[in-house]
Amino acid sequence: MIAVEHLTKRYGTQVAVSDVSFRCPPGTVTGFLGPNGAGKSTTLRALCGLARPTSGTATVGGRPYRDLPNAGRHVGVLLDAGAQHAGRTGRETLALSAMVLGVTSSRVDEVLHQVGLAGKPAGKWVGKYSLGMRQRLGLATALLGDPEVLVLDEPANGLDPEGIFWMRGLLREFADRGGTVLLSSHLLREVEAVADQLVVIAGGRVVAQGSTEELLAGTGVLVRARDTAALAAALAAAGIGVTGAPAGALVADASAEAVGIAAAAAGVALLELRPAGGDRLEELFRSLTSTSDSGPAAPQIQETRV
């Protein structure tokens, strides 16, 4: 169980994180979303005792991270896959952490196998690793102490599609066994696929949070007709708002049923009627972050999708 309460972090006059509160219950995956500079990493660092909050608290299982007797046995942390000594082998990196955690070297072999680095890759210098391999090694370090909580900053970064699919399964399984997962990401699709609940942060503030289903439910349906003008008139007549109009289609702010009935009543033939598509979360994300005062947020999100 992770509880962040009224967390605020200032650097001089600059406010990095302002009054952020959320909870991650056991058995769930929480997606922590936000554009670059929104305060995600600062929040995670404060949670893991690496940065002192200006005010507010962050606890794991009711205790501040710094008070955990053997922190790595409770919380597996991966904040930056690049933060590993280039002159050590993968196995040695894990062996050092294993000594601190007090776990056996057979556990090192286990996690190496689990993240797909067993055998040759384990003996290579970390400096020779690809970013994806470093992510796997970082994840292995996080899993090493068999923790009940995982805190991961951008863990999918650098993984190939197969790796992302694999990690999604790993996190899902971890949560289904009663674990708590908090992961930040720019890979919106990835978060949508695995997260039970979402916390969206922009400009240092939480701008939306709730279950993934709940947050995505309000994003409307995409509807396309042979006669777009007639469809627009029919929706307007039924009092249904139109939030967006991608090429030749409309995004209606209502259920598919209401839109279908309105179209039928007006005698408009529909070509397509479906939830607003795979970009639902991105739509949500952009609508939330573009209204905040975080300036260049929206373009940055787009960059990360390329």
């Binding site: 169980m1 991270y65 933060a83 000594h85 196998h113 890759p121 399984e173």
Partner: protein, 265 residues
């Protein structure tokens, strides 16, 4: 890379397990010692430290005058390369955590930063003693081979004071390196300043007559010089203490406080 991604079952994460005590200071010291040797750079540095002493002993055996081929003189001279390199080892013990950014993992696993820093100080002390051990072996090698390979005799007498003071000076040296590392958190900056700053003090205090007290009380090279032969006496200890206060204690306290308070990113 190929991804052999069988979904191995994760061990059950359960909150109901018995609490596992944190690592002891001894364990953390072992970890720090291992860290100093398990990287490519660390391994080579240790090897160089270990090999320079016998090299010095061999040169001394072949080229020195007979009266200098005593165990005591071998021991004194083999200290020099070790005294030069151990502080660098001490610096890297701290700064590599920042240059390689492993501090994130280190302090995520052990959030009590003072324990990690304490372990680094203990590990450095062990390395200092091991460094002296290497010089003792090298000095013994020199003394042993002198009558065999040269026409000179040798003398095995050595005073307890010399051995003791050599240990103290080497341990102080590596701890001063640790202190510079803690204060600056950057390998190149700490190494350069470690060698440049005291030299500047030496030069200045030698140039300006009114500042000779600086040389006598603050210049480490001057204050510790008698220690290599075990000849430090009453006031000498005070002079060593003041110079170590300036170059060791001050930066370590400042650096320690800074690391305690800073954000690790």
């Amino acid at each position: 890379m190929s991804t052999q991604t069988t979904p191995t079952p994760t061990a059950v994460p359960s909150a109901s397990r018995a609490p596992v005590p944190g690592p002891t200071l001894l364990r953390l010291t072992q970890v720090e010692l291992r860290k100093s040797a398990d990287t490519r750079a660390g391994f080579w540095l240790l090897l160089v430290v270990a090999l320079t002493s016998p090299a010095v002993a061999v040169l001394q055996m072949l080229f020195a005058e007979e009266e200098d081929k005593t165990f005591s003189m071998f021991l004194a001279n083999t200290q020099l390369p070790v005294a030069l390199l151990l502080p660098v080892l001490g610096i890297l013990l701290v700064t590599s955590e920042w240059s390689q950014r492993t501090a994130i993992t280190t302090f995520a696993l052990v959030p009590d930063r003072s324990r990690v820093l304490g372990a680094k100080v203990l590990a450095a002390t062990v390395l200092g003693v091991l460094g002296v051990l290497a010089t003792v072996l090298a000095a013994a090698l020199g003394s042993l081979l002198t009558p065999v390979l040269t026409s000179d005799g040798t003398d095995w007498t050595v005073s307890g004071a010399q051995v003791g003071q050599v240990v103290v000076v080497q341990v102080l040296g590596i701890l001063i390196g640790v202190a510079f590392g803690m204060l600056l958190l950057s390998s190149p900056l700490a190494i350069v300043l470690y060698f440049v700053a005291p030299t500047v003090v030496t030069i200045v205090s030698n140039l300006v007559e009114a500042l000779t007290w600086m040389r006598d009380w603050l210049d480490l090279t001057t204050t510790t010089a008698p220690m290599y032969l075990g000849e430090l006496d009453g006031q000498g200890w005070l002079q060593v203490a003041t110079s170590v206060g300036l170059w060791g204690v001050l930066p370590m306290v400042a650096g320690w406080l800074r690391i305690e308070r800073s954000e690790i990113a």
